[in-house]
């Protein structure tokens, strides 16, 4: 094991590159997963997250760079000789085995092979861990999706791997069950103390379960950090756009310093935003964007007087309203800004009485709520934006 400030490191990528023909799936990637943590690789399909997972499992070998598990290089080591186990996206349970035989499969491959009684005992422990006692003799296809998933978990955990790999494990479950399993997975991870590496395209899943999230795009890690870091301190437009909802006001960076930047919109309006944590200063005259989360925008009845709580304020007209239950989403149109998305809490609605399409309102926000970001979608990759190491 490798000693770091945070303790031991279970998985490391050093400049790992994986190509399929002309397609660059993983591009010079560095990764460090500390022992006992719950890490997510998050990104849209084709971002290289699944390839990264398969590189750890050994189903793929890198074209360049080094993959290390527990400090030792595993390049060239086949999957069956790696101390990692995987929960597959479709679970991949063996249809010709019972639940107990599926779970015990890993034990039966050990040399020397444990005795029958030991296998039965260990399988029993795993069944208890995933709360499937009494299902030993069942066929895997008789089980519900959630139960199959728990069998897959038990099967992957029985050999006490250094790292458990999870490939979109919740994608096949319905919403309610998915939320239950999120909690269950988190609890399980704390109980067994094994490092979990989860691959998902679902930002909510990543945000709710992981200690550390690696947001990926085009085979690279764009930002790494905790859920709060990614949501509150996105380092560029891509991150702010992928994680949660955001309003974006496009323009040109007119002024920039270490605290923030001023961006001139096409309409001539000038908006100020702060730098996200870890970003020193933006490049002046480059394409920039002001990003504001819809829940950070204040909305009130248009009454001509400026609100005391906001720094930027404008009048707007309600275009659309979506009732979400716990909150209400408004799409408003403001001159010089275009469309603005606003989320009003239940409490705010009870104070204002709510708005209807066509109503005129005042919307505004604090400058500290607005982030000034480089617009990587226009200028290609960020050139000098350092990836902050947090947590």
């Amino acid at each position: 094991m490798v000693e770091t400030i945070n303790g031991t490191v279970d998985v490391e990528f050093h400049g790992v590159t994986k190509r399929y023909g002309d397609i660059l799936a993983v591009d010079d990637m560095d990764l460090e997963v500390s022992s006992g943590s719950f890490v997510s690789l998050l990104g849209p399909s084709g971002c290289g997250k699944t390839t990264s997972l398969r590189l750890i499992a050994g189903f793929e070998q890198p074209n360049a760079g080094d993959v290390r598990i527990g400090g030792a290089s595993v390049v060239g080591v086949p999957p069956h000789k790696r101390p990692v186990n995987m929960v597959f996206q479709n679970y991949s349970l063996f249809p010709h085995f019972t639940v107990a035989e599926n779970i015990g499969f890993g034990l039966r491959q050990l040399k020397p092979r444990p005795s029958k009684t030991e296998i039965t005992a260990r399988v029993g422990e795993m069944l208890e861990l995933v709360r499937l006692q009494g299902f030993e003799k069942r066929r895997t296809w008789e089980l519900s999706g959630g139960q199959q998933q728990r069998v897959a978990l038990a099967r992957a955990l029985i050999n006490r791997p250094t790292v458990l790999l999870l490939d979109e494990p919740l994608a096949a479950l319905d919403r309610k069950l998915r939320q239950d399993m999120q909690i269950e997975l988190q609890t399980l991870q704390r109980d067994v103390g094994i490092t979990f590496v989860l691959v998902t395209h679902d930002q909510e899943e990543a945000l709710s379960m992981s200690d550390t999230i690696y947001l990926m795009d085009e085979g690279r890690i764009i930002q790494m950090g905790g859920a709060r870091d990614l949501y509150d301190e996105p380092i560029n437009r891509y991150v702010a756009d992928f994680v949660g909802k955001s309003n974006f006001f496009d323009g040109e960076i007119a002024e920039a310093d270490t605290s923030g930047a001023v961006i001139r919109l096409a309409s001539g309006r000038v908006l100020r935003g702060r730098n996200p944590r870890g970003v020193e200063s933006l490049n002046r005259n480059a394409a920039g964007v002001i990003a504001i989360r819809p829940e950070l925008i204040h909305i009130e009845k248009a009454n001509g007087s400026a609100s005391l709580t906001t720094d930027v304020e404008t009048t707007a007209r309600i275009k659309n309203r979506i009732f979400l239950g716990d909150q209400t989403e408004y799409l408003v149109e403001a001159e010089g800004f275009g469309n603005i998305l606003v989320l009003a809490s239940k409490h705010a609605e009870s104070v204002s009485g709510g708005f209807s399409p066509g109503d005129f309102v005042n919307v505004g926000w604090k400058e500290s709520s607005a982030l000034a970001l480089e617009d990587t979608s226009k200028g290609g990759r960020p050139t000098a934006v350092p990836v902050p190491k947090i947590g």
């Binding site: 597959f88 249809p95 010709h96």
Partner: protein, 290 residues
């Protein structure tokens, strides 16, 4: 063969009508002839040949006179099935698992292409290949003399493997093609070496195709006539050849019928034994046989 115990109604009538052609076909062309042959087997040979009614088991008592045909069939048919299996499995595995997307349709076509020519003509070709001017001549050129192939059991086996291989390859290919490849990754991930993965996952999950292919080849081989007739040259003959001889040459229909019934009986017993052996193992695994 219509389903029984249903509540009736129009649905049942449609089912019955759909099954009617098959039922008639089986009754007229399978059950009736079998009954006729069973009855004939209890009769006597008419003085001028053919059948003469009687009720005797004498024909069955005489079966040992054709023992050689039975032993040939019962050794070469299972042996041929096993050889087909051993050669077909790696081929089917390659086609289903390893072959690239582009190559696969082409290779599958290659497996099927022999069917485009008459089986008779293809077997005739083997007479030349195995005969004095074929392979033995080539072997002579490299110094191996006096190799005799044609009209030997080896020749018959070569003909069998050549003729029946596609029938074994295709069902195994289908079952391997359906096999979820991520199961192989899962086995490997859980610590199984490639060899163990094959025996613990691939082989059991391709068993349905293996059983189907084996039964198909074995049952057809038990009644094989053409290959021993052409490549066995009267020296290596099957029960099928004995039957032709009995019915057409010596015109001893009752004895021929008894031989035919005995063959059917042995075949049923062999298939039942095979399915029991396979089934005992599969009861646990609960994978449908056919």
């Amino acid at each position: 063969m219509a389903s029984t115990g249903n509540t009736g109604g129009p649905n049942n009538r449609v089912t019955a009508m759909l099954l009617l052609p098959t039922t008639l076909w089986f009754f007229l062309l399978l059950v009736m002839p079998l009954v006729v042959i069973a009855v004939y087997s209890l009769g006597e040979r008419a003085p001028a040949g053919g059948y003469q009614p009687a009720l005797t088991l004498a024909q069955y008592g005489n079966l040992l006179a054709r023992l050689k045909a039975f032993t040939n069939t019962l050794t070469l048919a299972p042996l041929g099935t096993v050889l087909c299996l051993l050669i077909a499995y790696p081929l089917a595995y390659y086609l289903a698992v390893k072959a690239g997307r582009g190559a696969k349709p082409f290779l599958l076509t290659l497996v099927i292409i022999p069917f485009w020519t008459s089986f008779l003509i293809r077997t005739y070709a083997w007479i030349y290949i195995l005969g004095g001017r074929g392979i033995p001549r080539l072997l002579e050129m490299i110094g191996i003399e006096d190799v005799r192939l044609i009209y030997t059991p080896t020749a018959v086996l070569i003909g069998i493997v050549y003729g029946y291989l596609p029938l074994m390859v295709l069902p195994i290919y289908v079952s391997l093609e359906k096999l979820d490849k991520s199961l192989l990754e899962a086995a490997s991930d859980l610590g199984a070496s490639p060899i163990r993965t094959f025996f613990q996952v691939t082989l059991p999950l391709s068993a349905p195709g293996l059983v189907t292919g084996s039964l198909l080849v074995f049952i057809l081989l038990m009644g094989e006539y053409l290959i021993p007739a052409l490549l066995g040259g009267g020296k290596v003959f099957f029960v099928g050849n004995a039957l032709v001889d009995l019915f057409l040459q010596s015109r001893n229909w009752p004895f021929g019928s008894a031989v035919a019934i005995a063959l059917v009986g042995i075949m049923l017993a062999a298939v039942a034994l095979y399915l029991t052996l396979v089934g005992r193992d599969r009861d646990r695994q609960n994978v449908s046989v056919l």
